[in-house]
């Protein structure tokens, strides 16, 4: 069966059918992302002063990825233009470039951005205990400079100190399986009797990942007593005006180690969605956006591999298909143009 109006316009709409279809779809997509963006707005307005993080994402990588998406928007429109000019070879080259840009975007996101967040560690200090950690929070400095109060101490989790009620064997087994080392009677462990055990990574650089820490906390009898972390620069030197505003370049954790009592912590985790409403909405929106990039890549790959047959039969139809996937692709770019500043910069 021949589907009508795939190349020429329908008299009543003035559009060929697929174009009408994609624009209706994009209208629904605007509502989908619009709902999430208004969710972002709601969470952000609702966040108490000091509880909306800044500067936790890697700005240079985000900037580069933005440029990659913009470049791919150019190449997909050039694919369409070359099909219109009946220049098949060039069109295929630009289409392949677009696909590779989409894959590069996903690769960067999944290799250089997300995993680092899951490895990072942050602990929110209870409000009544913040004075105890003034050396890391620098609230005196923040107050006198009109900055938001600070509640979180973040960095690389080097070790945790635990107490065990009853049988120690499950903890020992867990440590062995997870390349962790148990140190009994660690220095400064007074007050917990002989029970205090320091758990650190066999490989010092790896430390204890937040995920391992959480699993350990679920072993029966095990209670996390202290976190030892290599501080992020903002917590290592909180009164330094250079740390008042987020940095452009990514800052690695320093060598300065802080020990935090678990009883002073209201919430501790990696920078996973559960960390805060900030990371929850960050992963939701960027995750959904990433799925859109993946969807676009799949459709474009199909057109790249199987478009030749249609092109020989009806080149204008192939050009229209690329125009439609291009409209979708530009929309994905357009969403990112808002995502980038609201999560990375503002």
């Amino acid at each position: 069966m021949q589907i009508p109006y795939e190349v020429t316009s329908r008299p009543d709409t003035g559009l060929w059918n697929a174009k009408l279809g994609i624009w209706l779809f994009l209208a629904s997509e605007v509502m989908l992302f619009g709902g999430l963006f208004s969710g972002y707005l709601f969470l952000r307005l609702g966040a108490e002063d000091g509880y909306w993080p800044h500067g936790l994402l890697n700005v240079p990588i985000g900037t580069f990825n933005t440029a990659v998406l913009i470049a791919s928007s150019v190449t997909i429109v050039l694919t369409w233009a070359n099909l219109k000019m009946r220049n098949w070879v060039m069109a295929q080259r630009y289409l392949l470039t677009t696909i590779l840009c989409g894959l590069l975007f996903l690769f960067i996101k999944l290799v250089f951005e997300y995993p680092e967040k899951f490895a990072h560690f942050g602990a929110y200090i209870k409000k009544e205990s913040t004075a105890k950690y003034e050396a890391y929070l620098g609230n005196e400095h923040a107050r006198s400079n009109g900055l938001s109060p600070r509640y979180e101490i973040s960095g690389h989790l080097e070790a945790v100190e635990v107490t065990v009620a009853g049988d120690r064997a499950p903890l020992a087994t867990f440590a062995e399986k997870n390349k962790l080392k148990l140190v009994e009677h660690p220095a400064g462990g007074e007050g917990h009797g002989a029970n205090l055990i320091k758990v650190e990574g066999l490989d010092h650089k790896a430390g204890v990942s937040p995920a391992k820490m959480e699993k350990m906390a679920r072993i029966p009898g095990v209670t996390i007593e202290k976190f030892e972390l290599a501080l992020d620069p903002g917590n290592a030197d909180p009164s330094n005006p250079a740390n008042d505003r987020p940095h452009f370049w990514h800052q690695h954790a320093t060598d300065k180690i802080a020990t935090i009592d678990a009883k002073d912590v209201s919430w501790a985790s990696s920078f996973a969605p559960k960390h805060s409403s900030y990371f929850a909405i960050y992963f939701t929106i960027t995750g959904l956006h990433g799925l859109h990039v993946l969807g676009g890549v799949i459709v474009m790959a199909y057109f790249y591999l199987y478009g030749g047959k249609l092109y020989r039969k009806n080149p204008e139809h192939q050009a229209n298909r690329i125009e439609v996937v291009g409209l979708f692709w530009h929309f994905v770019d357009l969403v990112w143009i808002f995502v980038f500043p609201i999560f990375y910069l503002l």
Partner: protein, 130 residues
């Protein structure tokens, strides 16, 4: 079956621009070729504006709200460029503009619902809670 759904050019008598263009590929191709430079320039402008957005976010405009206004202004301008040039909205059919008009109304309405809930201007009961 094929009779009732006869594919073009049975309807081309209506003579929309698109049908005319489909009949004259050489004219169409010439038209497109002229736009290629525009696409490249817009691409470069968008990347430069990305760098500008990053730069401006480190400038202190007096208040964080002001940084938001500046950041959103640049982003909106970028989105308009993408829409007008890459998505060919410049010179697009009225049908699509009508779609977009209604989409705009609905999405603004959705944001207003969120803000209405947050600022609670009608009943004002939230004030006591906060």
């Amino acid at each position: 079956m094929s009779d009732s759904h006869a594919p073009e050019p049975a309807h081309s008598a209506v003579g929309t621009d698109a049908t005319a263009a489909a009949h004259d590929h050489s004219h169409d191709a010439e038209h497109v070729a002229k736009h290629i430079k525009t696409y490249l320039i817009v691409g470069v402008v968008l990347i430069v504006l990305t760098a500008v957005t990053v730069g401006l976010s480190y400038v202190d405009f007096g208040s964080h709200a002001m940084n938001w206004v500046v950041g959103m202004a640049v982003a909106t301008f970028k989105v308009c460029l993408v829409g007008a040039i890459f998505m060919h909205l410049k010179g697009e059919r009225p049908t699509i503009w009508r779609f977009l008009l209604f989409t705009g109304i609905f999405v603004v309405g959705m944001f207003l619902l969120t803000l209405l809930h947050w600022y609670d201007p009608i009943f004002g009961t939230q004030q006591a809670v906060r």
